[in-house]
């Protein structure tokens, strides 16, 4: 965990990018022990269109699949994206 304000880079893909209107932004989190969940909660306030993605969204931190509880260090890259389709067999 990291105490104090962290600035993280956030990216979005596919329909999440459309919902937010941009693929990339910097987010400052002035909160102790910030996690991927903290970032997504903050973004939902700013972009209500993100709310419906909450049950299915996937998260990567520094280009590895991560969990909501994954702690963030300064300059971490946090990426939110929808599940992959699977496609019809």
């Amino acid at each position: 965990m990291y105490n104090g304000t962290v600035k993280v880079k956030v990216r979005f893909f596919a329909s999440l990018k459309d919902a937010v209107g941009t693929g990339e932004m910097d987010v400052n989190i002035a909160e102790d022990n910030a996690t991927a969940r903290t970032v997504f909660d903050r973004l939902q306030e700013q972009f209500p269109a993100l709310k419906r993605y909450e049950p299915i969204v996937l998260v990567a931190v520094n280009h590895e699949y991560a969990r909501w509880e994954t702690p963030l260090t300064p300059d971490a890259e946090v990426v939110f994206f929808p599940p992959v389709s699977g496609g019809l067999r």
Partner: protein, 144 residues
Amino acid sequence: MIQIVDKPIETDPILRAVDSGEAGAIVTFSGTVRNNARGKQVTYLFYEAYPELAGTELEKVRKEALRRWPLVNVAIVHRIGRMEIGDCSVFIAVSSPHREAAFEACRFVIDTLKVTVPIWKKEFYEDGEVWIEGYCGEISQTSP
């Protein structure tokens, strides 16, 4: 061989990459853009990747196939960007001494890739467009 490209996929170099005197069977899978989906005429597709993670996940699938079956080699190339009807979006080539392993591994690669590798497609129709995503249905309907 693992590649994510934004140009038409050339299959010859991929086949050469898996070819070998040890191989008696080469099975390939080519995913191509269909002119219809979900009961609608498709005009074109757009594929978007999360490239850093997609590369890692493609390599994981490849390694797992090589671990599970007695193969000679596995190559996976995925194209991203705009694609027209008939274009190849993903090409997989698997070589093995015998054909059973080549068929099984090639199918494993495409089935796994489709659920683990962060690449999404958006279908464009005459009257709108839809992101095709996991658990999609209504949630991914971005227009109309």
